[in-house]
Symmetry: C2
Subunit: 373 residues, 2 copies
Amino acid sequence: MLASKVIPAKDAGADRASRTVISVDAMGGDRGPAAVVSGCARFARNTDGVGFILHGPKDVLEGLVSRRKPLAGLCKVRHSDRTVTMDAKPSHVMRNGKDTSMWSAIDSVRNGEAEACVSCGNTGALMAISMMRLRKLDGINRPAIACLWPRREKEGFNIMLDVGADIRADGDDLLQFALMGTSYARNGLELARPRVGLLNVGTEEHKGRAELKIANDLIAAAAPAGEFDYIGFIEGGDIPAAHVDVIVTDGFTGNVALKTAEGTADQIREFLRSAFAATPLSRIAALIAYTSLNRLSKRIDPRRVNGGVFLGLDGIVVKSHGGADAKGTEAAVKLAFNLARSRFSQRVAARVASATAVRQDRSNGQSGNGAGK
Amino acid sequence: MLASKVIPAKDAGADRASRTVISVDAMGGDRGPAAVVSGCARFARNTDGVGFILHGPKDVLEGLVSRRKPLAGLCKVRHSDRTVTMDAKPSHVMRNGKDTSMWSAIDSVRNGEAEACVSCGNTGALMAISMMRLRKLDGINRPAIACLWPRREKEGFNIMLDVGADIRADGDDLLQFALMGTSYARNGLELARPRVGLLNVGTEEHKGRAELKIANDLIAAAAPAGEFDYIGFIEGGDIPAAHVDVIVTDGFTGNVALKTAEGTADQIREFLRSAFAATPLSRIAALIAYTSLNRLSKRIDPRRVNGGVFLGLDGIVVKSHGGADAKGTEAAVKLAFNLARSRFSQRVAARVASATAVRQDRSNGQSGNGAGK
């Protein structure tokens, strides 16, 4: 079913063993494989030590790769005929998706051929396949999906997790989410000392479910050794706030919040469109304001929020936007590469092991964790 | 602490016993008691059979009432010195709020002097006092707060409950929310056959928490006798959808979803403002588009979503917008009056009793419920 082709390295001196290999699902995005291959080429032009395994129809991909000089010698193409469509049900893909480019891309990470996977295909299906095919890291109870949430008061993003890997999380799981999220913030967003908030229905300490009170204590206790600041409970309206970087919640609540925000943004886009179409004068105003509106439209595009990184698995999976162009793909590949290079997965595992050790023996007074960032 | 004054009825023939009395917290709104009293007068001018108990500083309120002819003979004023401020913590108000106008307004319902309460004050405090001071209806396990959510594709609102009365709900509670929500849709929004959806992280039947699967079966089974349509699971993005009228969820999830949507709407308003301030040309466009933008602003005003009705209590409590003017207050009073007149609370109790009976003895084949609407 799978065919593979190694394109010989143009640089005979390249040390293949030192390359960080990214497995890229070239199919399933709105702009087709050309944008994806072009994005990989952009990244390879500026970065040493990257390699790619591209998944999709062999003829198409080899044609695209051969026209991109920066990719010469850096790409394998792994053939697959089928693509996961945007409207495919995750449960259906899990049963019938074995010969799709997405499945193949995840399996390259599973097999150890690649350290990270990037796909701009169907989010739900990618989550489902990743959770099923990749092993959990040692010490992780429950992997999580982290999304980037546009920040309110300035450019940039907050991280929220879990947004749908699982529908439940107890106090210990929420502590692990805090540790994985801060590690992601450090290695992915380059924040030295992330600020963590725990999503609840109020900011008063006695509020919320029992597991939130437990998590509140656990996360506060882990903050000094974990080198992050814990700001306590936050509410739904604070998710885009500038006073927090990492928002911790269970996958049910996180998923509802994410989809509610996307739905609200979509709804306001429609309201905006109809407001500007209401009268001839407002249509003229819309023309004049075209650039501003376009800028706004980009900021509230739900697809920008839709990206996700899967944390707690033995391998990194980055979901790029469905509408990503070459530049968008480059950014996703860069994130995957940086996380892989920083040995992110191993660091997460070390952080979690360290926090567990600290918890089990707090009286030691140990403060370091030796897990790097 | 409380002083009361009965203004003699101008119409000696008025049958006081047949009046539906609304208890109105005149304080705590952004526009002060004048807007509230004016709203009551607007309603009284067009409606027979209403009476009011107004709560707040006696001198101020009597002065305002005496200038409104339609209110002559219809109002009692109940003195209270203190007002619950918008930034007061609900837990603080519960401990220290006994002599506030809000507390006094709820207690008039508790004492049986009034059938419904209207307040435009602090939402959290109003919820907390209502839940504490009003008894639960017979057969109701868990009262709920229903909010109105602006609908996506046309004018109008969907109903979501619970948005924060409690943080948990089992399968039976969610069934009761469906019954209370449809009763509210019929008596408050005049929908003959409401469509009910259950909030989940996916629309596939096997998704979600255990209590959601139980509720899914219970609500589907109750739909024929309950005279509503059950459309199954919906996701966060569907809350404003036109294919559903009543969205059922637990108070934790509902509260996070509501606040997340409010936060998103707020955020986009800020983005919009900065987009239109970006360049001289865009500022001119904003001037030209002033009316359209104003229209949009009203549609995405979080305060419009903020209204809530408390269901399952022995007495009706309607939260009006903090920024409500006379017209807004009139609408809130009208909703409270209609719900009280339709004997809404009793109907909810009957619906719940009937559904419980149907559930306990489904083999009877009984289909009616005799509970009216």
